[in-house]
Symmetry: C2
Subunit: 298 residues, 2 copies
């Protein structure tokens, strides 16, 4: 497949999307062009998905890879309480990769993009030995309303959406509902949008609760105490719920005077503890909890 043919295929997919995003120029020029709306902030994130690190071609279809590549970045938008606007998709791949694989990858990525009405606005293409995807996503929030990690306050309740440990449990057994969850994570966009009105701070759970909570505490210059009642996914262990990555649920804090809803955007919400004023000290049922989540360089 020549570069021009692949670009033609990508343009075909890109044109399927609705044009209500504010994009003036999409695929086909040196840059995409966006006209911002009045009184909005824009948020930006980028995430790698790399063969033999984040997936293998034996265990993941082209569709799994396309879905996951976009879902990882969308989850970061959810973590800011942002509405998705557009994405840039950079893809490097070996010569032997088939047209069938490429079509499956883009089709699945565009299915997920279509669900959130976001545009594929550009990207880059290159050759490499391993399939390497880097997806940049842009989202929007009302001015000053992005949900940050650095704004949790002592006394806030700590909550999570959904269930924890499922993705890690799925990776361990490679079958069943948890395995499907691991391969096709669902970004919590709708929940993120609703959280903006009640959360003091928030982030997504990509590297495991213990490490991600540590990061939130570090940014907010506070500590946390967990009471031990975690929403553990069926088939997952406490270890997997604490330290397993890729659940892509939302971790957020709520001011003590506010009532915590039982559900947000159809997802169960669980209060798992409270923010304290002892910087970076995290305890679980009274015992110190070390940040053991996923370090990308171990």
């Amino acid at each position: 497949m020549r570069e021009t043919d692949l670009i033609r295929m990508i343009r075909g997919f890109a044109q399927q999307l609705p044009g209500r995003t504010g994009l003036i120029q999409g695929v086909g020029d040196d840059c995409a062009v966006l006209r911002p709306r009045p009184n909005e902030d824009l948020v930006f994130t980028t995430d790698f998905v790399i063969e033999d690190r984040h997936f293998t071609t034996d265990t993941h279809t082209a569709g799994d890879v396309g879905h996951k590549a976009l879902a990882r970045s969308l989850s970061d938008l959810a973590a800011m309480g942002a509405e998705p606007v557009f994405c840039l998709v950079s893809l490097a791949f070996p010569q032997k990769l088939t047209q069938h694989w490429l079509r499956g990858f883009y089709k699945s990525l565009m299915d997920l993009a279509g669900r959130y009405k976001i545009a594929l606005a550009g990207g880059d293409l290159a050759r490499s030995e391993r399939i390497t995807v880097d997806v940049m996503c842009c989202g929007r929030t009302a001015r000053g309303r992005a949900m940050l990690r650095s704004t949790a306050r002592p006394g806030d309740s700590i909550c999570v959406t959904g269930e924890l440990g499922g993705a890690a449990a799925g990776l361990a057994v490679m079958r069943g509902a948890n395995w499907r969850r691991q391969k096709r994570p669902q970004p919590r966009i709708e929940a993120g949008l609703k959280l903006r009105t009640i959360a003091t701070a928030g982030m997504d759970l990509s590297d495991g609760l213990s490490l991600d909570l540590y990061r939130l505490c570090e940014e907010s210059k506070c500590g946390a105490t967990l009471d031990g009642r975690l929403p553990i996914a069926k088939g997952a262990s406490l270890e997997q719920a604490l330290h397993g990555g890729e659940d892509y649920e939302l971790l957020f804090t709520v001011a003590p005077q506010l009532r915590i809803p039982k559900k947000i955007a159809g997802l169960p919400v669980t209060r798992i503890g409270a923010i304290t004023n002892t910087p970076r000290k995290i305890t679980l049922a009274g015992e110190p909890l070390r940040p053991l989540g996923f370090d990308h360089f171990r």
Copy 2:
């Protein structure tokens, strides 16, 4: 080097930059947050630089790679006539890569970023077998003033900045001024900003004049006739000037009634031909010119 140590190093570099970009949140949260200014459009581009495709560790230092990774994306901003605002840097690399290399990479990238006062606002880190960099750049233009590929008109003059073929000639001999130019391309940001007032269309020359001009004609639904007087770099051949990539000069069109300046932002400007109304047909001194520039998949 642990991920947290590397992030600390990157944050140190990121904080050296001036904060006049409109960024509310940089490295450290799930997303970077930008507050757009009134009456501006934002432009976005992303470019890979991959070991053994775009460089080798034998021929390019860490500083060369960091410079080139940002320069490629900045050149796309220049092509839109945009002022650089911020970048996201995604870096995947093998375990054996030294801290010395990583420091050299980021230092050089930040030196170039500092020259254009742009912020390092985030990115991603991962492991991979080959060093893989993907740099996303955001720039701004006054509303509706981005320089596009699709707006050239029959009768317009076709012009280029600087000299052509130098990067290809440098790659062939791997020494001298052309080799330095190949390794440390200079994005034509200042020229791009000045071109907004006189150019009808424009793009950067990354894959060679013949292929890039073909793309401009395709987007503008027109053709081109070149008169054969090209500004060939010293030491380069006509072939290298026509089909060699990575010069990162600007290709632009000017309405026939306008005077073409001899220099723009200190760079010589050469009129090389004119736009015609025969779609995608390009001639050089009367003979058909085929688009033979760099196809990333050959």
